[in-house]
Symmetry: C2
Subunit: 265 residues, 2 copies
């Protein structure tokens, strides 16, 4: 199985991209809904939680572990990789940074993410490691998370919030030509974000770039499923009914509450 870990339902956007890219694979998704959000927590706490989630997912004999949470990817990858040395561990930051560097002509790249991801500066470092000349502006956009969770992804409020965060970055003389959506919730607000930045900006959705990266990794290691129909198992640490209700919007298909298995970390 491929394990997918997130702090809550946001990583379901990554899972959806993975299932589209790898339809024959079996997935187990763990949302740490009892302790979300990770975006406002300290790095030490996030590392501790991510290691507990890794332990729980490893019971499913994973061939690959995807850290779909940007905050956890930003701070806990080295600790997770030290814990499970035989399984490839893929976060969402590096694929997003790579795609941004490939897409940008001017080297001016904007990143919107949670407070924790911005503070951890993992995108900024990942981008500058690939392009020393890059000018990266990173801004925390926590209201986007609340809007996505509530399903208020379009309309005047979503657009006003998009302008609130994005105008200071893009309504300037030499604006970025690339915007990285550095939080799994943000693809839900794509239309409002696109309306705020205009049509000339390349928007890098880290869910899609991560899914392509996972497919490449499995193919290169000869670990990809040969064929057949994939499956999905959903785990949550709290409130399976809310997980089903809110998660359905992120996964873009209905989820029944009884499909969500409650586990304790």
């Amino acid at each position: 199985m491929i394990g997918v870990f997130d702090s809550g339902v946001g990583g379901l956007t990554v899972l959806e991209a993975l299932a589209a890219e790898l339809p024959a694979e079996h997935f187990v998704y763990l949302g740490d809904t009892a302790r979300l959000p990770y975006g406002t927590k300290s790095a030490e706490t996030v590392v501790r939680y991510a290691l507990q989630a890794t332990e729980a997912l490893m019971r499913y004999r994973l061939k690959c572990l995807v850290i779909a949470c940007n905050t956890a990817s930003a701070v806990s990858l080295p600790a997770i990789r030290a814990r499970i040395v035989n399984v490839p561990v893929i976060g969402v930051i590096e694929p997003g940074a790579e795609a941004a560097c490939a897409a940008s002509r001017t080297g001016r790249i904007a990143v919107i993410a949670t407070e924790g991801t911005v503070r951890g500066a993992a995108y900024q470092q990942g981008i500058r490691r690939r392009r020393a000349d890059a000018q990266v502006t990173a801004v925390a956009a926590p209201l986007f998370v609340a809007l996505a969770e509530e399903g208020l992804c379009e309309g005047p409020i979503a657009e006003a919030v998009a302008h609130h965060y994005l105008d200071p970055l893009f309504a300037v003389p030499r604006p970025p030509d690339t915007l990285v959506l550095g939080c799994t919730h943000f693809p839900m607000l794509m239309r409002a974000i696109r309306a705020a930045v205009g049509t000339q900006v390349t928007i890098v959705d880290s869910a899609q770039t991560t899914a392509r990266h996972v497919r490449r990794t499995l193919t290169e290691s000869a670990l990809a499923a040969a064929g057949g129909r994939g499956s999905l198992r959903l785990l949550a640490t709290d409130a399976p009914q809310r997980f089903a209700r809110v998660g359905a919007r992120f996964l873009e298909r209905p989820i029944e509450a009884h499909e969500v298995e409650l586990i304790d970390l």
Copy 2:
């Protein structure tokens, strides 16, 4: 000391009201910032967390414990009272329900709160216990929490969100005459909320009603401080710097990060 417990910084609005009402008292405030928000968590989880917080606060030899978190008040008061039988435990729900019943002429009362508080129906029950004829409409308004945390308490976004939640309740033929702010974050958005509901609606701020209730309880039990100058000790379970930065807006005075003591529950 008087203990004040909240899931995060929101309870600082209650603490501020308490300090204004009882300036000679010594307060210890615990914000469970590692595990916020409680509003989306299951009742079982919230009760477990609240009992852990109670244990931690009881080390300060409390004469009174205030559960400033609406969600925790709604579900965990019986469990906390069973644990510490000799100390009065005061939640924010009952004082708010009492004030709403006293204020309403028509019996039509609206409550805005978090998902957990609305689902737990504690305000609805508290109001109907006092006024059997009351017509209570309760709505979850989670975006207000995100707006308050980010300091976006006024302006077009706050006003649009206020209309989004409040118009379905108040732009109707026989609207409520009383609105209970059933979440500690919401008094921060008072101006936007007032603009949305108009001047004829009584807004019950549970921070102020709770502070008056605590003063009455201490006076009746002869536990109130005789005089002198009070003090304040701040505890958090994670990210003291964020607590200081965001909390300062709620407490309406600057907080230095070194004033916030990090504890583990």
